[in-house]
Symmetry: C2
């Protein structure tokens, strides 16, 4: 490859690193790719880091030693995140979203790629320092946001199913009690998807009584796995909870079918 200019190297480096957050690339990788000396690559990394920080686009972390190199760490700018979650609350407060039974239509928000990507980055940042080995959720609506959290942390996503399927091989199945409706429910996970001693981050779309999160915690115990944190997109206020310490992006205070009012606000973590 012909000699590369600094702005070429920096542009390509930022793209490559940010495409796979939390994955370490050696300086030799870039040195080979760009046909440039390692000392130049080191300077490039410093400049790239300055650019990302200046525009609140993330950061680079460098490490030394045998497995040393540089990786991209996602960053959700606090002010921009706050505005984003506030806008989402306004959108979700639309009375047209009120469904029979006092449910709120959130399906579109939870499967919009750019929205779940932003939500995922905020949640990934909450739990980055807990070093999970995987993200776990239950099908179905939490999968998109959980996938985005997993992508930001560069770990696999694992999703429990409501029914065991023959095409997933041997499964571990547990029964749990829904925290709000007190129904008995079932979830199953492929036996080989998790190894003993790993660290799990639980992500889900909606928490009312906390029964599903509690079920996931029980499931993780079956696998001898440590739960390092739990996060949901929306939690409801003023509900007795089966679990503590679950972070949410938004808190749903009230859905009134008669007055057609929805009260949903950013959580204390935003």
């Amino acid at each position: 490859m012909d000699r590369t200019k600094r702005n070429e190297r920096i542009g390509a480096m930022i793209k490559i690193l940010s495409d796979t957050p939390n994955r370490v690339y050696t300086l030799n990788y870039f040195s080979d790719l760009f046909g440039a000396a390692k000392s130049s690559i080191s300077e490039d990394v410093d400049i790239a880091q300055g650019i990302l920080e200046r525009f609140s686009l993330g950061s680079l972390e460098t490490s030394t030693g045998a497995n040393g190199g540089v990786k991209y760490v996602t960053f959700a700018d606090p002010d921009a995140s706050k505005r984003f979650i506030q806008e989402m609350c306004i959108r979700l407060s639309d009375p047209d979203r009120i469904l029979p039974g006092g449910y709120l239509y959130i399906y579109d928000i939870l499967s919009n790629p750019s929205m779940v990507a932003r939500m995922g980055r905020i949640m990934a940042q909450w739990f980055y320092r807990t070093r999970p080995d995987f993200v776990v959720t239950v099908e179905t609506k939490g999968i998109p946001v959980a996938l985005m959290v997993a992508q930001s942390l560069n770990v696999p996503l694992i999703f429990a199913r409501r029914e065991a399927r023959i095409s997933d091989g041997s499964m571990v199945t547990i029964n749990y009690v829904s925290g709000s409706s007190h129904n008995i429910q079932t979830m199953s996970l492929p036996k080989r998807s998790i190894r003993e001693g790993q660290r799990a981050l639980i992500i889900d779309d909606f928490m009312k009584g906390g029964g599903t999160i509690r079920g996931l915690m029980d499931m993780m115990r079956e696998f001898s796995v440590t739960v390092v944190g739990s996060g949901v997109v929306i939690s409801t206020a003023a509900e007795r909870r089966l679990v503590e310490g679950v972070r949410s992006l938004m808190v749903l205070h009230h859905v009134d079918e008669t007055t057609r009012r929805v009260e949903i606000r950013p959580s204390q973590y935003i």
Copy 2:
């Protein structure tokens, strides 16, 4: 903001544009963000485009007029994609993946964020010119890869459910026949998730007889929506199909429980 240097502007611009593929940013947006003249921004775009092309990292498309600006278009380098799919075939050929009944364990591949991101980019490129308004799939295992296709195309993901849920509001439900097992199955989509006249791209994880894809096509007809294309991660060979023209990344030729051999190869589209 202080004056920005060219390499700062280019690095930040590549990051911002590639974070949201297929979304148009005006030159004024960057001009304001960087405190630079529009003529400089225009030159930055040209340089950024050169960098992305040189390293096969995607491309920029510029448009003029009232809604004019610049957008990032994902690109999957053909050689790199071929190597990636070949490696995936090797991984999937592991005899330990053979499940009772001749099924293949693919769960881990389909929920690995960096793998589904790469698969999603390849599939997005196949269908980019068909300009879909949304991507549609059926729960559950196809959701991660379908979300990544949707992200690359900057369109919503819509997923049908096996059972209608009260929390999704009014649903359209259809029955369809599985192409391989001939069982009657059901899928439901929220009524308000789709508008008449839109263009749908169907993405799923696995196609055997094609019954699910056919079901999704029938469902789209219920919504008066045009199907612009269909893609799956793995299709099986030598099976009578209910549908034609479905692209796949890999073709599964054979799973033999006795000899413990799996034969899976990149498709003709790779």
